[in-house]
């Protein structure tokens, strides 16, 4: 990975607690993070040599900053509840799954199921995301600078998925109340997902998300909005061919 700019944690702290996964186990890392209590001085963490490890910094529930130097495996930052986690590399499947609050930034690409079932917080993927991005999302905001793969936002219940690039096949299949904003091309829409009008409140919402995600040079008006047609919310036999 090329050198990346300093994260907020680095700017704020000047120094961070460094945890080298080539010297210590994953268990030791997560245990140390879980022992943090409100008001702890250890507000900035740096994780070295993740080398594709799974479950890096899962279940953190304090508002600390964690910079992971390198690429991670499955479920990095899973169930994050308040931490600001930056991966200076790419992330494997299920990054930020079931996030409650806080933020996750992936400097590289993300594999499948990014932000799956997330309930809150902000997930930013500066590269591309693979299939099933935002699957079953329940309130999370996801901003992808690049493209997303097929079946993204499948059964998405709530929250916002913003895609600066293109979306793959079957976007928003069986979607509930989540909002999808795509700037590029959508390969196809899934069952019960339709293009919707961008009203002023959506432009405002989207602009806020772009600002939060640090996206510059892109206007909210360049996006199209997609969401549920709400035709499959109550079973009707005459809709059977939609399934």
């Amino acid at each position: 990975m090329p050198a990346t700019p300093m994260s907020k944690a680095e700017r704020d702290q000047g120094h961070a607690r460094v945890f080298d996964l080539s010297q210590h186990s994953l268990r030791e890392l997560n245990e140390a993070l879980h022992k943090l209590t409100p008001g702890s001085n250890e507000t900035a963490w740096e994780v070295l040599n993740p080398k594709g490890s799974h479950s890096v910094a899962v279940g953190v529930d304090q508002p600390v900053s964690i910079d992971v130097r390198g690429s991670v495996g499955y479920y990095c930052a899973g169930m994050n509840d308040g931490a600001a986690i930056t991966v200076h590399g790419s992330a494997g499947p299920g990054v930020g799954e079931n996030m409650m609050s806080g933020s996750i930034v992936i400097k590289g690409d993300a594999s499948q199921y990014a932000g799956a079932t997330g309930r809150g917080g902000l997930l930013v993927i500066e590269g591309n995301a693979s299939s099933r991005c935002g699957i079953s999302m329940k309130g999370i905001d996801i901003v992808v600078h690049g493209n997303i793969g097929h079946m993204s936002a499948f059964m998405a219940q709530s929250g916002n998925l913003v895609v600066l690039g293109d979306a793959g096949d079957a976007l928003g299949d069986s979607i509930y109340e989540a909002r999808l904003f795509v700037r590029g091309k959508v390969e196809s829409l899934g069952a019960d997902c339709i293009a919707k009008e961008m009203r002023p409140e959506h432009i405002e919402l989207l602009q806020g998300l772009l600002d939060k995600a640090g996206v510059t040079g892109v206007k909210a008006s360049e996006f199209k909005r997609y969401g549920s047609a709400r035709k499959l919310y109550n079973f009707n036999i005459d809709n059977a061919d939609a399934y």
Binding site: L26, R27, N30, E31, H34, H54, S55, V58, G59, D61, G73, Y74, Y75, G78, M79, D81, P93, G94, E97, N98, M100, Q112, Y113, A116, T117, R119, R132, I135, S136, K138, G139, F154, M155, Q157, S158, S174, Y176, E177, Y233, N234, F235, I237
Partner: protein
């Protein structure tokens, strides 16, 4: 004298029986498949087809009411720092808040706690009613992830990764709009009143290799404290058990096709999956082949009704059983006291299974505030505790008669089968013979 033609007795088809005819007419009239609660209702090989031998000249019994017969069980001793210790090997299966009313969930917690066993959340998240009233609570990790959050994961006593259930291996949940109250909608992050379909696949893992990584994540989040169960429907018990063990499970839960559901298609319930009896020996065999029998515990569910069923399941090698339907009956489900109201719904006490419609006269499978008042959680919890104690006493009675000072010392050699099918499934001899179908090439 004119020849008199004697009439033949009108004969109905065994193939097109009354139920089948009614179902064809219902489908033709409505254009929708039949959805109902509960498990398979068809006649299946079951524990009734097995008998204990008891003591004889070569086996001596223990004294009833005198000699101790241990009923306790420890679940999750493989990896968890805090395994679960239960006084009895009968647990309460996962049933969702949403499907069940708040008072019913509270009653399950109260009853289980009095009896010294665990209860389980369901596809709807953890409620304060059940956490507050359950000493030992198993938190289900389901494909829908409704209500899932790290705080509840950490205040659970064990985590059950649900891959499937016996009534519908391969099917997701279903909760029709009429049961999606404000509270249920909020817990599931869905609009009120819509039909809610839980996913059938987990959103962020597929297959046994991913499951291993998912279990690692759950262990890391909970600091390796909680036992992790993996629950599957009775589909491929040998391979599912082996793969769950490989993925790192502490406990494997297998739910046969008699296991209940809140709501699924009738055609699914009756035609997919295997009977409970057929699932036990392959699962035990998988554990034995891996050297993990009694190290990874096995829980079986689906149609457990009394202490004899418990004893038979344990004799076949399981560590504990789980009950759902029977627990609801103990709370008051399908009670004949509500017969007039069952009749008004077009059914009768004992047959009521439209649990998804939310109009349960017994106040259990409903979100109607008036109906749910009919469940007094304290009294219903007491009934459940009584029932669990009776089942335990019954199982002990049988175990003592077989000379066992622990329910877990019961063994297949204590059993015979009444039918060839049951003999083959249970791997015990047909009564009066030494023939175990399928063994020794016959």
């Amino acid at each position: 004298m004119a020849y008199h033609n004697p009439p033949t007795t009108p004969r109905k088809s065994a193939t097109f029986d009354d139920y089948t005819l009614s179902e064809i007419r219902r489908a033709a009239a409505t254009g929708i498949y039949d959805i109902r609660g509960a498990g398979a209702k068809r006649k299946l090989p079951h524990f009734d087809d097995l008998l204990f031998l008891g003591a004889s000249i070569s086996r001596y019994p223990l004294e009833g009411y005198r000699e101790r017969c241990d009923t306790s069980v420890v679940l999750g001793s493989r990896h968890a720092k805090k395994p679960i210790e239960l006084k009895i090997p009968i647990t309460i299966a996962g049933m969702s808040f949403g499907s069940l009313s708040g008072p019913a969930k509270e009653a399950l917690g109260r009853g289980a706690t009095i009896a010294g066993t665990s209860t389980t959340t369901g596809d709807g998240g953890m409620t304060e009613e059940e956490r507050g009233h359950s000493k030992t609570l198993v938190y289900q990790y389901l494909p829908s992830r409704y209500g899932m959050n790290p705080r509840d994961l950490r205040r659970a006593d064990a985590i059950e990764v649900v891959v499937g259930q016996g009534a519908k291996p391969g099917g997701g949940g279903m909760l029709l709009g009429q049961k999606i109250s404000d509270r249920v909608a909020e817990m599931r992050t869905l609009p009120k009143g819509i039909d809610q379909r839980s996913a059938s696949r987990h959103p962020d893992w597929t297959g046994p290799d991913d499951l291993e990584i998912k279990i690692l994540e759950l262990r890391e989040i909970t600091d390796w404290e909680k036992p992790i169960y993996v629950k599957v429907g009775g589909a491929r018990p040998y391979y599912d058990t082996a793969l769950a063990v490989k993925a790192g499970a502490d406990v494997v839960v297998i739910d046969g096709m008699q296991g209940g559901t809140a709501a699924t298609q009738e055609v699914f319930i009756e035609n997919v999956g295997q009977p409970t009896l057929a699932c036990i020996r392959p699962a035990v065999q998988a554990l034995q082949d891996l050297g993990m029998h009694r190290k990874v515990q096995l829980i079986i569910s689906g149609g457990i009704r009394n202490g004899a069923d418990v004893a038979k399941a344990l004799a076949l090698g399981v560590d504990a059983v789980s009950i759902g339907t029977a627990a609801l009956v103990a709370l008051g489900d399908n009670d004949p006291r509500w017969e007039a109201e069952y009749n008004a719904l077009g059914t009768t006490a004992g047959a009521y299974d439209d649990w998804h419609e939310g109009r349960d006269p017994a106040g259990i499978t409903t979100q109607d505030p008036e109906l749910m008042k009919r469940v007094d959680p304290i009294a219903a919890g007491r009934r459940l505790a009584n029932y669990l104690k009776v089942m335990t006493l019954e199982a002990q009675t049988i175990a003592r008669a077989c000379g066992k000072n622990s329910l877990h010392n019961l063994e297949p050699e204590d059993l015979v089968a009444l039918t060839i099918e049951a003999a083959a499934m249970a791997g015990v001899p047909l009564a009066g013979t030494n023939w175990i179908p399928g063994k020794n090439g016959f």
